[in-house]
């Protein structure tokens, strides 16, 4: 379980993704693949959180998952990272079946959950104390790692905040730290579970820019869970719409806009057309649920 994930520790492919993200690519080059996944909490007869969930995400792709609250989006995150094991179906990441927690996935949630007794630098370097081979090297090459941490802080606009404590930062800044912590060890896969949900609209748009640029620069694979359709359409290459519980993928929508995408894109007609279209499918999903009850 510990060795198989070493392939995940690939360096971020530099700009490799440009040509490979065409809509026509088939499941063969999938980085994350789920098929027919069922997960039921609380044993047989319990709540089926997701059922017959099938999706695949390509390497370097930015995927977004949207769906009504409680439809199993967070469960999907946990499934893809091996934190929960499905009752049925198969999950593969980077070509290998997921049988337990993956080793080096970067995760960030809505709650920044920084450690209040550590300064920003200590907080974002936490993964380096856990992931090999950094864990073994951290003591020896400390200066190098600190430089790297400071570089990533600059990247998200937190230059010089390394020695602040979390309580000295605003919510948006804490969430930037959270992103840094998820990325410091250069994971091949980044899982974001409603990371901008608790922020005000302006800060949220700022952070869209931050994650957009990070992805543009490093080209890791991202799965972003959100209930904000505009966020999904703006950031993602592909949007998956989930049904209400038990969750499965209703619609898969390719987002054709060129990258880099300026924020003004969100005010264009084409953008809003796609948002509307997706909104319609979600409304259908919710109506379905009401009809079933």
């Amino acid at each position: 379980m510990t060795t198989r994930n070493s392939s995940l520790a690939l360096k971020w492919p530099r700009d490799a993704a440009d040509g490979t993200l065409s809509a026509g690519a088939d499941a063969a080059d999938a980085f994350v693949r789920m098929s027919g996944v069922n997960l039921t909490y609380g044993g047989p007869g319990g709540i089926a959180a997701v059922d017959d969930l099938t999706l695949s995400v390509r390497k370097g792709e930015f995927a977004a998952v949207v769906g009504p609250s409680g439809c199993g989006k967070s469960t999907l995150m946990k499934l893809a990272t091996g934190l929960v094991i499905p009752q049925a179906g198969s999950i593969e990441v980077d070509g290998a079946p997921v049988t337990g927690p993956l080793n080096i996935v970067g995760m960030a949630f809505q709650n920044p959950s920084l450690l209040p007794w550590r300064q920003v630098l200590g907080n974002i370097m936490l993964p380096l104390e856990i992931v090999s081979p950094h864990r073994q090297r951290l003591k020896r090459d400390r200066a190098e790692y600190v430089a790297k941490a400071e570089a990533i802080l600059n990247l998200v606009g937190l230059e010089g905040f390394g020695s602040k404590f979390p309580w000295q930062l605003s919510g948006g800044m804490q969430q930037r730290c959270n992103l840094c912590r998820a990325l410091i060890h250069e994971p091949g896969l980044l899982m974001l579970d409603e990371p901008f949900g608790a922020l005000d609209a302006f800060t949220r748009e700022e952070l869209w820019g931050v994650i957009r640029d990070l992805h543009q620069a490093k080209r890791f694979t991202v799965i972003l869970v959100t209930h904000d359709l505009r966020e999904a359409v703006y950031l993602a290459d592909r949007v998956f719409v989930m049904s209400s519980r038990p969750g499965r993928v209703l619609v898969e929508r390719q987002i054709p806009f060129e990258r880099p995408r300026p924020i003004d894109l969100t005010f264009t007609g084409e953008f809003n057309d796609i948002v509307h279209e997706l909104r319609g499918t979600i409304a259908e999903a919710r109506a379905d649920k009401v009809a079933m009850v």
Partner: protein, 273 residues
């Protein structure tokens, strides 16, 4: 410090800077207040001619304190010893049991109600039983001090460990961290403020437990001294012992509070954002 403007002197806790006016005020006002109590005490007793067998004057009490300082010190040391020993045992066992319970969230939620139930049993009620079992030595006092101060430590340590945000745990587990690692990096540092906070409560309780056990029957200690003085109608000595008790209580509390500040300063800072 860079953010002098943010943390004004009124906080009084800015590290590296000592505001002497503030410090003086912090010391002077409680001293003045205490002196005031003694003066009122003296005045009331004299004014209303309260008999010494009910309430001796403050001066008579202080006099007794000085006159019998030998026995009082001897018995204080005995009480301090039983308190400290009971408290130390409580720390060791409390930590161990707290870690064991807080390790798994399911164990924690199963055991927590029982812990609270145990904690609310008046432990003083078992003192006669302990004396019955262990005789009149210092053992019952030590055990009472232990029993009474044990539960707050267990509850707080377990709570600190078990309430690690599940999301943070997910973040670490997705990096390949095992449970032990999660505990080392997050659980234990996080529960330190809970632990030290509980020590403040526990040490006071241990002290109460020890003294109560001594008044129920012991061969040494301040509780025993008070009992003896009472039956000999030496009421000033009883009150002198009371004064010593409260002074020792403050000292014990102060020491643990200092230790708490020293090791978990971050928890205080992050609260007064």
């Amino acid at each position: 410090m860079a953010e002098v403007g943010i943390t004004g002197p009124a906080r009084g806790a800015v590290p590296g800077r000592v505001n002497w006016g503030w410090q003086m005020e912090k010391i002077a006002s409680p001293v003045l207040f205490t002196a005031g109590i003694f003066i009122v005490w003296e005045a009331v007793v004299r004014l209303f001619n309260v008999p010494e067998t009910i309430l001796p004057t403050a001066s008579a009490t202080l006099e007794a304190l000085w006159q019998y300082r030998g026995v009082i010190i001897e018995n204080s040391l005995a009480t301090l010893w039983t308190t400290t020993l009971g408290f130390a045992i409580a720390i060791v066992f409390g930590l161990a049991l707290g870690v064991a319970i807080g390790w798994h969230r399911t164990v924690y939620s199963a055991v927590y109600p029982a812990l609270i139930a145990f904690n609310s049993i008046p432990k003083v009620a078992v003192v006669p039983v302990l004396i019955l079992w262990f005789g009149l030595g210092s053992l019952p006092a030590i055990i009472t001090a232990f029993l009474i101060s044990f539960f707050p430590i267990v509850v707080n340590v377990a709570t600190g460990l078990a309430t690690v945000e599940p999301e943070l745990e997910d973040v670490l587990r997705a990096l390949g961290a095992k449970k032990l690692m999660v505990m080392m990096k997050v659980g234990i540092p996080r529960s330190l403020p809970h632990f030290f906070g509980s020590l403040k409560i526990a040490v006071t309780l241990a002290f109460i437990g020890a003294v109560v056990a001594e008044t129920c029957g012991a061969s040494k200690g301040l509780g025993k001294l008070m009992l003896d003085a009472q039956s000999a109608f030496q009421i000033p000595v009883v009150f002198a012992a009371l004064i010593v008790l409260s002074a020792l209580g403050i000292v014990l509390y102060g020491i643990t509070a200092l230790v708490e500040q020293r090791y978990t300063g971050w928890a205080f800072r992050s609260q007064n954002r």
